[in-house]
């Protein structure tokens, strides 16, 4: 069967188009008509651009061929499975501190694993599929118009296929006392792609902490897109923890818009997955907005991870603090590409970027590429990048106290990443990530 299309089509997009046509009748039954335009527009966009080529600067550090040659079409689990394995995954990766939890299994809301009772007034936190039906006022504005021309290929694919995800809407002035947690689990029951969409709207002056974690089993392609809008003086702390299964592809994207004097503090920790791509696009649209964009990756075996950040300072007095730390051993490959743009007229912008990396074996590699584009004359911008091995002097100091070489190395790697984790302003989240890092490091020694 081949779909009839009236737009240009890249060959690798064809299986996805066919999958889209197969799902048409189900979508028509389940989804409101207003979403159709966005879906079709997104699909057309993906069909036109297809898989990015390695010649493109934003995709040169990641190998997409395995995915291109063996398409992982959208998986449609009818009923999400939550057997013992899913519960144990959740037990592993879930926060131990009290949290409002929304769990998704194979890309679909799993109410049985979620804890949403007791949300304070002024907060709507629920599944994307439910929001589309019950609260179109929260999502329609973002999902009605077709995507813009500069949408990234896999964001477009996500627009065509996302089955669920989450929506968090916080009214002005609301201060949440405990973290909101979104846990994405893949059961391994069906191999395919899992497209999820998140939407966070933080009202003026609100304060919240959000954790999004990813774990799973089997061969799957996670393609998650989250849009964030912070109103005036909103303050959001967000942690993203990627611990996908060893055969999984994980593509995550965040697109954030910062209004005047709003603050986002975002941390992404990449630990698990065969190929991981993390895109962060921040638009500092409001004056005096602040963006703390930090993260770390720890890679072994033949893992690949690529972090690409774009921070666009469109308003005067906006600030960025960006610290990314990378560790690669065995034959792993990591890459950090960080662009900071200061638009004309965005005076008094203060932006600092740091990329520090440890390469622990001769066949591992990390690329780092900072990029500043400054079109205003009264700004303070700096960047630094380093790639190196563990500090020999520190290693000897630890060993001279009787600590074995393996333990000393683990302590120094842990310390290196901990420095970035310390930038998270929530103690229970810091603890959670540090324990996940310790666990990951222990697995390296086995």
């Amino acid at each position: 069967m081949s779909a009839v299309v009236d737009f240009p089509l890249k060959p690798e997009a064809r299986p996805y188009l066919e999958a889209f046509s197969r799902g048409a009748s189900l979508r028509d039954r389940q989804e409101p008509a207003w979403l159709g335009g966005y879906r079709k527009g997104s699909l057309a966009r993906f069909a036109e651009i297809g898989f990015p080529s390695r010649r493109s600067e934003s995709w040169r550090y990641i190998d997409l061929r395995p995915l291109q040659e063996h398409p992982l079409l959208p998986a449609h689990a009818d009923e999400p499975a939550f057997g013992l394995e899913i519960r144990s995954l959740l037990g592993e990766i879930g926060l131990t501190a009290p949290a409002y939890r929304l769990a998704l299994v194979d890309g679909r809301f799993a109410p049985g694993l979620s804890t949403l009772a007791g949300l304070p007034a002024g907060v709507w936190f629920g599944s994307m599929a439910a929001a589309i039906v019950e609260r179109p006022d929260l999502v329609r504005a973002r999902l009605e118009a077709p995507p813009s021309d500069n949408v990234r290929p896999f964001t477009a694919l996500n627009g065509a296929f996302f089955a669920d995800g989450f929506v968090l809407d916080i009214a002005a002035g609301v201060i949440l006392d405990r973290p909101l947690e979104v846990v994405h689990l893949a059961s391994g029951e069906a191999s395919g792609s899992l497209h999820t969409r998140g939407l966070i709207a933080a009202g003026a002056g609100s304060r919240a902490t959000v954790v999004e974690s990813f774990a799973g089993a089997g061969e799957y392609w996670r393609n998650d897109v989250v849009e964030l809008r912070l109103a005036e003086q909103a303050k959001l702390t967000r942690v993203v923890l990627v611990e996908e299964g060893p055969d999984a592809f994980h593509f995550g994207e965040m697109l954030a818009n910062l209004a005047e004097a709003s603050q986002i503090s975002n941390f992404v920790l990449l630990l698990g997955g065969r190929t991981i791509r993390y895109d962060a696009g921040i638009l500092a649209e409001g004056e005096r907005s602040r963006c703390d964009l930090n993260g770390a990756f720890l890679l072994s075996a033949r893992q690949e991870a690529n972090i690409l950040t774009t921070i666009d300072h469109a308003a005067p007095g906006s600030e960025t603090r960006e610290v990314f730390k990378g560790v690669a051993t065995d034959r792993a490959h990591g890459a950090f590409q960080g662009r900071i743009t200061v638009r004309p007229g965005a005076q008094k912008v203060d932006a600092q970027q740091l990329s520090q990396n440890l390469v622990l074996s001769p066949r591992a590699a990390i690329d780092t590429k900072p990029e500043l584009e400054i079109f205003a004359d009264d700004v303070k911008c700096s960047h630094g990048a380093a790639v190196g091995d563990l500090d020999e002097a520190a290693l000897f100091y630890l060993r001279a106290r009787g600590i074995s070489n393996e333990t000393a190395r683990r302590m120094l790697i842990e310390a290196f990443i901990t420095e970035a984790v310390e930038l998270i302003d929530s103690p229970p989240l810091r603890e959670h990530l540090l324990s996940r890092i310790a666990r990951r490091l222990a697995s390296l020694e086995e």
Partner: protein, 250 residues
């Protein structure tokens, strides 16, 4: 014999020979001072004994309780009770001092077949020793040596020695850069740790420390060799006549 060094020759990886036939025997309970001018090989001797990389032993032997010390990895030497107080203690950002010390002491205890100390037991051990070296407890919550003053770093070295209770401690210029009050604290810390089953090797440029820690033996190191050995009066003679007087012997 605790430590027996015979005809030890060592060079840097760039080929420069620094140690040219060191001979030194240290018995249990003794304090030895090794004195010498800059460049005589004092710190190289400490580094080679502790197992730092970047040196190549070309001749000679070092026996430690009858075992070949040079065949042991640096961390194994430490677990066997050899301790080096660093001339330049290393700052290790991100590694908490307390966590570091507990990992170190438990590595030794495991090695000796003793049960590990839990956080509470460890804290009791630590508190008893903090006073000895006049170290503020909050330094323990910081990263190893990060933000420590020069004097605090040196005190921290002797504090670590007090915690780890080595059989052989080599103090590499622990007195350098200390004012007189800090020197007294460090010297007192060392004196408190003198014991019949513990030997101490003090490496120093100046006689000053030896006013407070009285050595049983003093050796003069010149151009990679011990050119003179004697009792504590040798240190005073050095102070009076300078290292130049011993040059001919080299």
């Amino acid at each position: 014999m605790m430590l027996d060094i015979k005809n030890l020759h060592a060079r840097l990886t760039d080929g420069r020979e620094i140690l040219r036939g060191i001979a030194l025997s240290v018995s249990a309970g003794e304090v030895h001072a090794i004195m010498g001018p800059n460049g005589s090989g004092k710190s190289t001797l400490a580094a080679v004994l502790a197992g730092r990389s970047g040196y190549e032993v070309t001749q000679g032997s070092v026996s430690y309780f009858g075992r070949d010390l040079l065949a042991m990895e640096a961390d194994e030497r430490a677990r066997e009770g050899l301790f080096l107080a660093f001339q330049y203690p290393v700052e290790i950002p991100g590694v908490n001092n307390m966590y570091f010390l507990r990992t170190a002491i438990n590595a030794q205890r495991r090695h000796r077949g003793e049960p590990e100390l839990d956080a509470g037991q460890f804290l009791r051990v630590v508190r008893a020793k903090l006073k000895l070296l006049d170290i503020r407890e909050d330094l323990l919550q910081r990263a190893v040596n990060v933000g420590f003053s020069g004097g605090e770093k040196k005190r921290n070295e002797v504090f670590q020695m007090a915690i780890l209770e080595p059989r052989l401690a080599i103090l590499d210029e622990t007195d350098s850069g200390l004012d007189i009050d800090a020197l007294k604290i460090v010297a007192n810390g060392v004196n408190q740790q003198r014991a019949p089953d513990r030997s101490i090797v003090l490496i120093t440029h100046y006689q000053r420390l030896l006013n407070y820690v009285e050595p049983d033996h003093v050796h003069v190191l010149q151009a990679g060799r011990i050119v003179q050995s004697g009792d504590k009066t040798l240190a005073l003679e050095l102070e009076r006549r300078g290292y130049g007087a011993f040059e001919d012997a080299a």
